[in-house]
């Protein structure tokens, strides 16, 4: 809900009370009452169901444990910090649940309990409430929380933390596809990447699940399709160029798209309406930036995957993108004054 819409909602009852006054308010005059924060957040949770199913199939109980830890801590943190700021507690809007869920899906299965808990508290506290609550934050809270725990506990979130040699679950005993590619130069088959029978963060393994949930989000207009489109086209373009210049046997553009957290990030993380640009054109530019940074980090840095850093860096550029892409107002171009 935009600020103006909120204001109007507050003003409306007052106007009725002071009866015969002609009430004139700034636009928008007509807005969809179904497009509330609560509806959007529960849409995201609904869209996460296929991801949850794929993750449950691949990582079993680990998924449930990590989700419970993160979502409960996120709710606790939201209650605590909003109470500290003496603001109305808005847990019912579901935004804390979404932050917790996305953080949980971006963690490795075996991360200890405090990784999720500390991550959620940082995500909600430093990532969101400090800026003034939902709608005011600059950075994606879940990714900020993940970046914090990644630096705080590198032993549990680095590439090697994903591998649990003595795990009962088959998938956990192998390195993640991007790590095997980077360190050993080995490739993973397209089908396992698509279905999600590989190792990785809880929510990222199955490209199919991310595509299903993402399609739902885009059709419902909860997520803007321009952002995932931008990310995917940038990654595909760069991967295609690299394949043409220096082909790696058995590794194609599709492998690049289906591996790592790319699709999960494109549909669920980068599309956060608060931390992405306002206009469709801006959103596409934002997506292109995220995709290009992901490829930069994947190919040229010490990290195997870069979705988290790419999203955080592009979050910082959002005000600039908004400046560049101010739409033309209805009625034509504003004439610039001649000096």
């Amino acid at each position: 809900m935009t600020d103006e819409a909120k204001k109007e909602e507050q003003q409306a009852p007052k106007a009725e009370a002071a009866a015969p006054v002609l009430h004139v308010a700034p636009g928008p005059h007509a807005f969809s009452t179904s497009l509330t924060t609560r509806r959007m957040m529960f849409d995201v949770l609904l869209a996460l169901v296929p991801v949850f199913a794929a993750s449950l199939w691949q990582f079993r109980l680990y998924t449930v444990i990590q989700l419970v830890i993160c979502m409960v801590s996120a709710l606790l943190a939201e209650t605590l910090f909003t109470a500290m700021r003496k603001k109305p507690i808005l847990i019912r809007d579901g935004s804390a649940l979404v932050t917790g869920a996305i953080l949980a899906f971006s963690l490795p299965a075996k991360a200890p309990w405090y990784v999720g808990a500390v991550g959620s508290f940082v995500a909600i506290g430093i990532g969101k409430v400090i800026f003034g609550g939902l709608g005011q934050n600059i950075f994606n809270p879940a990714m900020l929380g993940r970046a914090f725990v990644m630096i705080a506990f590198p032993a549990f979130l680095g590439a090697t933390a994903y591998v649990v040699p003595d795990a009962a679950i088959d998938g956990l005993s192998r390195a993640t596809p991007l790590t095997t590619l980077k360190q050993l130069g080995q490739n993973t088959g397209l089908l396992p990447l698509f279905l999600g029978t590989t190792n990785g963060s809880l929510g990222e393994t199955s490209a199919l699940a991310c595509l299903l949930g993402g399609a739902y989000l885009c059709l419902r207009r909860t997520a803007s399709w321009e952002i995932p489109a931008g990310i995917v086209s940038a990654v595909a373009a760069i991967a295609g160029l690299m394949q043409w210049l220096a082909p790696v046997a058995g590794w194609t553009v599709l492998h690049e798209l289906f591996s790592g957290a790319l699709l999960f990030g494109a549909f669920y993380i980068a599309t956060d309406p608060v931390t992405s640009p306002l206009t469709p054109r801006g959103k596409f530019v934002f997506g292109l930036g995220v995709g290009a940074l992901v490829m930069l980090i994947r190919k040229l840095s010490g990290y195997p995957e870069g979705v988290m850093f790419a999203v955080l860096i592009m979050n910082a550029v959002v005000p600039l993108i908004n400046q560049w892409t101010i739409p033309t107002p209805v009625g034509g171009v504003v004439l610039e004054k001649k000096s």
Binding site: P112, Y114, V118, I151, A152, F153, P154, A155
Partner: protein, 218 residues
């Protein structure tokens, strides 16, 4: 020069909390952020700053009648640089491990704004007594700021308090499933986050006490 301005006692008290260099003036942030991940480092740094601050305040106060306005900053810098070099050499000779740990941050005290600010604000204008009390108060305030940040960072980052000198373990060593040290607290981001949060706490306390005073007055 006349000797109006705060009394020595006021100078002393102001330095500790009301005009705390770290939390109120936000001066000397470079060492505050750089060497505050262990109590030992923080204490050594605070000691070195105290030595330099007290010595330069004394000297500047003694020669304040001779200062030329347009050359005063040059004199301050010269004085500070000399005392910093002495402190640096002493640390290298008698506390070699600390000197290695603090590395370039001891020579960097030269550009620490606390000292030049105190020379300018107090020592070059007031008598010796006020200048000394001011230096001691500001040094204590700086030490307090550094130690509060270092306490948080060392306990969360290493699980110890005065780990290198006294070996006190605050958080018992545990299996990684139960607890683990926060590496981020040892690294620079931890310094920024801790400083920000502690500054918030300081502001919160002050706002509360101001409110309480108002309630009493009303």
């Amino acid at each position: 020069m006349s000797n109006d301005g705060p009394t020595p006692l006021e100078r002393f008290i102001n330095g500790i909390l009301p005009e705390n260099p770290v939390y109120r003036q936000i001066l000397g942030i470079c060492p505050t952020l750089a060497v505050s991940n262990t109590m030992e480092g923080a204490l050594t740094m605070a000691g070195a700053v105290a030595f330099v601050l007290i010595c330069s305040n004394i000297l500047v106060s003694l020669i304040r009648g001779l200062l030329k306005p347009h050359l005063r900053i040059l004199v301050f810098t010269l004085t500070i640089a000399a005392f910093v070099t002495i402190a640096d050499r002493f640390l290298a000779a008698y506390m070699y491990d600390m000197s290695k740990l603090l590395g370039p941050y001891i020579p960097l005290i030269i550009v620490n704004c606390i000292i030049i600010a105190r020379c300018e604000i107090c020592a070059s204008k007031q008598r010796l007594g006020a200048a000394v009390m001011d230096a001691v108060g500001q040094s204590l305030g700086f030490m307090l700021g550094l130690m509060s940040i270092a306490s948080v960072r060392e306990i969360l980052g290493f699980g110890t308090w005065f780990g290198k000198w006294l070996g006190w373990r605050v958080i018992p060593a545990a299996a990684p499933e139960i607890w683990s040290n926060w590496v981020i607290m040892i690294l620079p981001p931890g310094a920024f986050i801790t400083l920000g949060l502690l500054m918030g706490v300081m502001n919160w306390i002050e706002a509360r006490s101001r409110k309480a005073r108002k309630a009493v007055a009303a």
